[in-house]
Symmetry: C2
Subunit: 227 residues, 2 copies
Amino acid sequence: MDNRDLKQEVTDKYSLRGRVFNRIREDILNGKYKDHEELKEVAIGQELGVSRTPVREAFRQLELEGLIQIIPNRGAYVTGIKIKDIKDIYMIRSKLEGLCARWACEHITKEQLEEMEEIIYLAEFHAARGHMDQMAELDNRFHTILYESCNSKMLEHLLKDYHQYVWRVRQKTLSSNRGAVSNVEHKYIMEAIKENNPDKAEELANQHMLNAYENMIENGLLDVINE
Amino acid sequence: MDNRDLKQEVTDKYSLRGRVFNRIREDILNGKYKDHEELKEVAIGQELGVSRTPVREAFRQLELEGLIQIIPNRGAYVTGIKIKDIKDIYMIRSKLEGLCARWACEHITKEQLEEMEEIIYLAEFHAARGHMDQMAELDNRFHTILYESCNSKMLEHLLKDYHQYVWRVRQKTLSSNRGAVSNVEHKYIMEAIKENNPDKAEELANQHMLNAYENMIENGLLDVINE
DNA sequence: TGTCGTATGATTGTATACAATTATACGAGG
DNA sequence: CCTCGTATAATTGTATACAATCATACGACA
């Protein structure tokens, strides 16, 4: 049992607590709950048909995820995504994806490389036809493989967390014409890893994030986020 | 109420849940619970004189902190600190402390700078006399101020998390003769920030972490950690 | 003797009851 | 009219009861 992380995933789809957690998380990220809105245990519980216990446990986890803030004896309040946070995350990711790509040079497997190539190849196809949903999905898979190939559960999980966190924003981003450009950048990163060039891979992954952020700003990230 | 983070601190010292959380966290970090040891809700509850409910909520948070792993319907198992994790964290911190120092150049306040200078000055005093406890405390304060001066709640909290996480190891590290050297590095970082030189500040903070890690290895980190 | 199924106990998952705390409304006093 | 204190309601914190699940032991059967 060596699979462990600084922050453990809540993938428990079958327990009530896990379902409540995922549901509320989705609702917050999708904007169903507004910023600073109060979440009441009984109300949520009734809505989902469960008692307060699993709701409370889900709340405790959402608090650590930063999606809500719990004030003792007062209540749980939604913490919306702030533009500043998105910016910070992209800058942080820029450094960390670079590190990840660097480590991937040493540790990536043949299978992972092949899957990357397949993803990039497929993405070229879908990019040409404007299949946005597929592009988003492929972007997801590329980064996931990259994270898994760095041989660091720590870094892998951290990056997956951030990736998730900005998911809603990212979807909007990729609906611009950046999809194709982004895929080319993926290709260059993959090639740098393939030829075992850590400096180049790090630099490219670094820049990839900065470009993604720049593009987001240009395309009016402000429409999606409130503040 | 703009104080919010990706991962919220559990500072609730007065609720039972908070106390249980902090207690178990301490016990794990201090090695009271061995790696892979099973934590039983009733046993912990009885030991601390509380019922299962707060224990369970604390467990859920500890899981997200990565200190335990919860297998549904089975139990909670301690996840000890791995040497590989420490290494990864230091490499990640290297990049992020660099970013933090860079941002601090723009955002640090006069008060924070003055406090930094005071800390460094004090540390010189204690370093000369081998006051290890004070050195650890001052190191703590320096980094905390650095984190707070970067104007990013996201980055601040992330770094504080990691700082906490490797705290036990760090204490051992500073008991070597590195305390004085480390303080000189702090001084250079502070000066780079003061003269508003982001590139230099980033590079120095970067290297500061790498040095700290190197020193840890040389001084036999292996004695403290199991694996 | 070994394997499988079942029974039993232990442990976690969930629901509910009760206690503690906080917010709100309302009225007394100035 | 404003302020303060108290009563009441709403909400969270905790404890406990019950249900579901899992681990273990033991015995039937091949």
